[in-house]
Symmetry: C2
Subunit: 333 residues, 2 copies
Amino acid sequence: MTIRDVARAAGVSVATASRALNQSGLVAAGTRATVRAAAERLHYSPHAGARSLITSRTHTIGVLLPDLYGEFFSEVIRGIDQRVQQGGYHCLISSARHGGPSLEAALRAMRGRVDGVVLMSPEFTGELSRRSLPAGFPVVLLNSAPSQLPHPSLIIANFEGARAMVRHLAGLGHRRIALIRGAEGNFDAAERRRGYRAALAEAGLPLAPELEIPGDFSEAAGVAGARALLELPEAPTAIFAANDGMAIGALFALRDAGRRVPEDIAIGGFDDIPMARYVEPSLTSVHVDISALGERAATRLLALLEGRSEPDVSRETLPTTLVVRRSCGAPNS
Amino acid sequence: MTIRDVARAAGVSVATASRALNQSGLVAAGTRATVRAAAERLHYSPHAGARSLITSRTHTIGVLLPDLYGEFFSEVIRGIDQRVQQGGYHCLISSARHGGPSLEAALRAMRGRVDGVVLMSPEFTGELSRRSLPAGFPVVLLNSAPSQLPHPSLIIANFEGARAMVRHLAGLGHRRIALIRGAEGNFDAAERRRGYRAALAEAGLPLAPELEIPGDFSEAAGVAGARALLELPEAPTAIFAANDGMAIGALFALRDAGRRVPEDIAIGGFDDIPMARYVEPSLTSVHVDISALGERAATRLLALLEGRSEPDVSRETLPTTLVVRRSCGAPNS
DNA sequence: AGTGATACTGTAAACGTTTCCAGCTGCCGA
DNA sequence: TCGGCAGCTGGAAACGTTTACAGTATCACT
C-alpha cells in the first residue's frame, strides 16, 4: 500500500508514479492513466508523514484553545474547520488547560505536526513564544490582549458592543445602569467594562463605583451580582451583565426577589448565546458571530501559510450587533 | 533544530542523542544529561512526521463527525480530547458533511496522520470501510446502526431512555401520549420510537398512529408537530418529543395556542441540553452524558491502539437518566 | 597477560515520499 | 547520416527519525 506497490503494479518507477499522482512534472497521458488506475485499484493513499518530511508541509493547522467547554469553543472550531477544510487542510485540536507547562507542552507537541496554529490563550507571552516556537512560525492570535507579539491577532468588538448596549439602555431613559463585570484579568471583560464606562460618559451619566459589581462570567456570579445590587440603598433600574450566562443568573435572582423584568429592572447581556432567545423574558444581548471569528482566523493563517501575506502584527476587530429583545423593555419588541 | 544539531552540540552521535532523549536504550547518565541540556538550550523538539515514518505510530487519533454544529458535537469532542490527551495522544478533527465522496476523502486524508479513528456517520458502510481503510485499521463507531462491521461501537440508551420517559408520563395518568419523531432514517430516532411504543404496550395503552407525528429534530418540527396534534379530534394530554429542540418548539406552539404546560398538556424531551432547565416551564428530559460518550469512545480506541484489547465487535450502551422537571407536571417538581 | 563480560557509543539502514538530474527514446532539421 | 531537442522516464538523494548491529573501551577474573 505504498507508492512502490502502485509503481510496480503500473509497471513504472516510483518517481513516475509520484509525478502521475500529483499534478507535478510531465508524464505521458497514458502512463498517468495507468498509474491512477493502479492506485485506485489498490486503494492507495499517500503517507502524510513521509510526504511532510520531504515537503516540510503538513497541510494541517493546530488549534489551541484554553478549554473545550461550551458553545463558544465549538463555534470557533466549526468556523475554523469549515474554512480550513475548503483549503485542503486539516485541524489538530488541543486544549491547554490552566497552568504554565501545559501550554508550552501542547505547543511543542505540535511541532512537525502542523504548519501553523490558531492560538487562544491569555497566558501566551512573548517569552513563551520565543521558547516554544521556531522563529517565524505562523501564528494567529484569538481574543488576546494587545501586545508586541509579532503575530496577527483577531478580537471581537467588545468595547463597541458594550457601549452600544449601554447606550441603548440609557436611550430608554435609564439613569442608574449597573454592570456585572467579567472575570478579573480577562481581556474581554476589561474591554466590555471600558465600553460600559464610555457609554455612561457619553450619556452624561456619572460613574457610580457601587454599580460595578465583580463577576466571573458564571451564572452564579449573575445571581450574586443581582442580589448585591438589590441591597443597594438606591437600586439600579437597568443591569448590563458582561455575558449572557450572568445575565440569565441575574434574571433568575430578580424573579426570585419578586422584581419584574423589564418593568422594574431592565437587563442586557453579551454574546447572544442561543439560550438568550428562550429565557423568559427573552434576553437583549450583543450578538457575536463566533464561527465567523474562527473562519477569519483560519483565513488569516492560511494566507500566512501560502505566503500570500507578510507576517504582520495587524489587529483585526470583528463587529458585534445589538439584538434587542424583551428583557430591556424597549417599546417595539 | 533537528536531532543532528542536538547531537553535534552535545558532541555525540545522533543515535546516542535519540536514545538519550527517549527513554530507550542504555546511555551513560552523564551523556544523557549533556544531551538533554543541549536539547533544552536549542529548543529542540522532534519532528513528528519523521518519527511516525519509522515507528509507524503518529500518536494522533482522528475524529470524524457528520457535522460540527451544536453542543452535542462539542461535548463529544471534549470528552474525546480529555481522554486522549491524558494518554499522550492528539486529536485530528474533521467533519464529513453530507454527500458520499466527502466521507471517503476525509477517511483517506487521515491515512498516515492518525493511528485510529472515532467515527460517527450514518453513511458508513462495510463497502466504504473496505474501500477507504487499510484492513484492520482501528475504528470505533459512535451512535451508528447495528451492522456486521468489524468495529467496536458505542451507542446511547435511546430505547431505554425513551421508554423511561413514556413510562413516567403514563405513570402520571396520561392515556393519550403523542410522539414527535426524529429524522427519518436516523438510528437514534428509530430507537426512541421503539422505546415509546414499548412503554405504551407495557402500560396497556393502544398504539394510535395519529399520535405519531413525523419530525426532524428541528425546533420548527416541534412547532409544526404540536400544532398538528392540537388539530386532532381528540388532542393528546402529553407529548414526548424525540429531542429537546423539538420539545421546546412544541412548548412555544402550545403557549401560542393558549394551552398551559403542564396543566393542559405535559411535555417531555430527550437529550437534556443545558437550555432545558431554562425554558419556562423547565423541561423534563432524558439526560445523556455526551462527553462521557466521547471519553468512552476514546478509551476503547486507545485500548485498541495499545493492543490491550482485541478488535472486537462488541457494542456498548451508555445509560441515560430521566430528569424530571416541571413540564411534565409531576407533583414534587 | 589474556579473556570475556559489561557498559556504552557510533555507523548505517530503513521508513515513504518528492525531486534533481541524467538517460533514453524518437523525431526533426541540417 | 548525424546532432540536437523535445518528451518522457528512472535512479538516487534527501527529509529527520529510530534501531539493529557492530565497535570500543573498561574492568574483573583466571
